[in-house]
Symmetry: C2
Subunit: 553 residues, 2 copies
């Protein structure tokens, strides 16, 4: 059976295991790994130097002469005379990775197995020891197939950029330690602000380790903007604050994914072409509402910032229609809440519901390798004012260059991983039009899926109308429950269908889609199409597979 591993689509990376082996096949064991470039198998006797370099031709590379079973990491650079050993070791790793990449893009040959956690732990000796292991052991441990993981959706230029980033081995702390990366971040953030539509791309921004962190930074900024005294005097110095959010974003932590687009006010998603997933629409909306809430003086960051169920309580002040927030109703509810006298704060309600900050996650729909998330902020200087602590020993003010390029004072982190180069190089390689085409393709595929199942027997759509983004939410009803008369009984059965089909998919390793319940809606499939390598045939296969695995339920 051909596998369709191009579904690393389902949900928020919850769907990556695919394959075609039977569930009982044991995981490849250390030492028995069937891999394209087995270092042990390759090692010739020391006398046989030709024909072994990996290029499959007769040549005199030194590669064949290095025996990794006799070597340790201390033999590599910076060891004296470590050059050749290091080059050979790293080339060996690369050979394994290259073969794996080609293999993982081949729909016919890729295989993967699901194994239970205890099973995996028992089958492998992963304990950390006092004694060093040989480089041979290290190479065997480095085989990606050993990780039981497909690299679907991996962008090749993004991968190359990530390899370079690792090799450059620096961080985004100050201009002097990463001058080019700092400037590429500067250039890219400006471009992103132009796309958002802020005049001349003015504003500020920073890359952070992910959407949750970007979002938290935005919350901190918004709070500081309205209540600057919070920085020195803490939460006890400000009035009680409340966050208003969509009930579908029922905790801020999971603002992304799964939530149908929450558009409905002044920031149109079209402003964000080429734009990230639905997920980011949600972020945008949240930031937009922060503006509203701040203006109302009613905005809260319940601690821990992203984790409070306080936000759930707050949602009772809203009305929703198909997951969209209704601004007029929002205003009315805020006024109501204020009139109840429960919270203080000044009323500066603005009619112009423009976002003051945007979280944009290129590691989602734009397929930049994880992690790549940016927070973009409209007001210049706010980030610095909110976060600067005049830590003179880290950020010397008597340095000899323009310190505005030192980003270390703009956020909570000091050192930051270099996440910009992947995005910049991919953008350079594709051009803006390339990203647009990639996103258009995903939208086209999701429309294809929608059209294919909307009238198909056994399927029901969870929401009315065409999907507004690349999420397609649907139920599959096996024949046995399709015509059940008892609605409650039918619902109870239906709730179990998606989990069983998904578990079977994982065990057979053929394809993947995620599922979830939502409010009073029982478990439904939620297909998020974000992998530009997917095809119409993959969609067809998904439908066939659901029916094949679910028909007896």
């Amino acid at each position: 059976m051909a596998s369709h591993g191009f579904w690393s689509l389902g949900g928020d990376n919850t769907g990556a295991s695919t394959g075609s082996q039977s569930p009982s096949t044991p995981l490849l064991n250390v030492g028995e790994v069937e891999k394209p470039a087995d270092p042990a198998a390759k090692q010739p006797p020391q006398t046989e130097a030709a024909g072994t370099c990996g290029c499959n031709k007769s040549c005199n590379c030194t590669k064949g002469a290095v025996v990794f079973s006799d070597l340790y990491s201390t033999d590599l650079l910076p060891a004296m005379d470590g050059d050749t050993k290091t080059m050979t070791f790293l080339q060996e790793v690369v050979d394994i990775l290259l073969a794996y990449i080609v293999e993982s893009f081949d729909r016919e040959t890729k295989v993967i197995d699901f194994h239970y956690p205890n099973e995996l732990l028992q089958m492998n000796n992963w304990e950390l020891q006092d004694e060093p292991a040989t480089l041979d052991d290290i190479l065997i441990s480095s085989h990606p197939r050993y990780f039981n993981q497909l690299s679907t959706g991996l962008d090749m230029v993004g991968l190359a950029a990530d390899w370079l980033t690792s090799t450059a081995n620096t961080n985004m702390f100050t201009y002097e330690v990463a001058p080019v990366f700092v400037l590429l971040e500067y250039v890219s953030l400006k471009k992103m602000r132009e796309i958002i539509g802020w005049p001349d791309g003015r504003g500020d921004g920073i890359f952070s380790p992910g959407g949750a962190i970007s979002n938290m930074y935005a919350m901190l900024l918004a709070r500081f903007k309205m209540f600057p005294e919070v920085k020195e005097k803490g939460m006890s110095s400000v009035p009680r604050l409340v966050a208003f959010t969509s009930e579908h974003i029922y905790y801020l932590k999971i603002l992304f994914g799964g939530v149908r687009p929450l558009l409905g006010t002044a920031v149109e998603s079209s402003n964000l072409d080429p734009t990230p997933a639905a997920t980011d629409d949600a972020y945008i909306m949240m930031h937009q509402y922060i503006k509203i809430l701040l203006n109302a003086g009613l905005y809260n960051i319940p601690p821990p910032l992203m984790n409070s169920q306080t936000t759930q309580e707050a949602t009772k002040y809203f009305s929703f229609r198909s997951g969209k927030m209704i601004p007029a109703d929002l205003e009315r509810r805020i006024l109501e809440a204020k009139q109840k006298g429960a919270w203080g704060g000044s009323l500066l309600m603005s009619r112009r519901h423009r976002a003051n900050s945007v979280t944009w996650n290129p590691h989602k729909m734009m397929s930049v390798p994880l992690q790549c998330s940016a927070l973009l902020v409209r007001e210049e200087g706010l980030m610095q004012n909110c976060n600067q602590m005049h830590a003179c020993y880290l950020f010397q003010q008597d340095k000899h260059y323009d310190l505005s390029y030192d980003t270390g004072d703009k956020a909570l982190q000091c050192g930051r991983h270099v996440d910009i180069f992947k995005l910049w190089l991919m953008w350079r390689a594709k051009g803006t039009i390339g990203f647009e085409a990639q996103i258009d393709k995903c939208l086209e595929l999701s429309e294809y899926l929608y059209n294919k199942i909307k009238d198909r027997e056994g399927y029901e759509m969870v929401f009315d109308g065409k999907p507004q983004h690349t999420n397609v939410c649907f139920w599959y009803l096996p024949p046995g429950i399709r015509y059940m008369e008892d609605k409650e009984e039918r619902k109870k059965h239906l709730h179990k269908v998606a989990p069983v089909i998904k578990a079977r998919m994982m065990e057979y390793g053929t394809t993947m889609v995620s599922y979830q319940p939502q409010g009073d809606k029982v478990n439904f499939f939620r297909m998020v199409i974000s992998n530009p390598a997917a095809t119409f045939e993959d969609i067809d296969f998904l439908i066939e597979e659901i029916e094949r695995l679910g028909q007896d339920l």
Copy 2:
């Protein structure tokens, strides 16, 4: 002049640019980059297929036949027939990286230039365009020397692991998307807890994007532990809280680096061999005090969590001696503060000042490539209770395996970058004894530096006695001010010495050390030795260079 680029030591990665060119040499321009593997130069006419594959031998690799100036990223996988082009493109990138790595470890040949931000921006066209660039352009943009950055201190096994991590292209969201990485994290966290000394390595933990984030997670946990109602009802539901910290950690954000070890109570640094830098001692201490403060019900997380000067106010309740906190005095001060009736909370003061959580940053002294930071927590279940929001659509409870391996509910982030494999593979390669040796070497080097300058003419130590970690803090007094009688005048001059010497070092690109003032102490050099590739000769060179560049000041 030989360069000594092995000083990526100074401070918190503030010292990485070295080189031996004159400051006026222009940066290598795009298209004129003098690089070991210039893709353009290498490309032969299509008819000349042999002798061009990069192995410098006559062979028939397809590599020579690929002309990158005609290709775009859309020609790579997942494009049809993209295998060969992709392999060749990635191999080209690797050839560039490998040559760069060898070059960067060669003390004689490495060169680097400092350029001012505007200068760099003007010299290069880094704007993001609508149109795609050719792969030729992408390869030229991918040259690490172009980044004006040395990869000193880069661990080769760590690098290989990072390349693999990029290729595996997954995240730490749930067991099913990254089974092996999730289990390696599980195994490694347990090992780390054993080293900390918690019984049988019991407890919990998670890898986060860095020390500041780990620390924030710890704060959130500690607050939740004492005031669980904060999760649902927010800060207004708990008494006013105050954090007590060292005055040298004058804002929590910069808990790491530069601060002399703050040991002095029950958690000994020896518990943490192989342990990270001074920095982490500071973390440990902070967590330890959180325990104390929580017990006193006096503990605060001023918002934004890591950035509040409230902590500065709080330090007035402490006495310090050589940067060490005095537990007995701490208790007295807390009791005093309580008796003033300024804050509420129950008094549960414990005499056993054991840490409840530890932030451990393997990306510091253990030289794991950035980012790699772990938060370790003594109490099982606390992380889940604090952060879990029952987001059923992300973390389905009806999945078919042991859900305790799903880490997505243990912290604020949902998806997390895979940071574990670098640490695990390096630990495997070195063994615990290898890490110990590496840290011992850094300690030995810092003692060598201390012994060399403590009685040398023109040097003064900033603190009394031998350094407790690998930080060595000292002043260099040029002959002109060495015997100044006016103490104030001397101090004023001395304050300017370190910045000028450092600026000259950057311009000449020879070596690097960071400086800082602290309290009433004027700018002094702060040498943090964390690069195991450094040698005694590098220390000698540093001293000579300071004297050469500073003698006229």
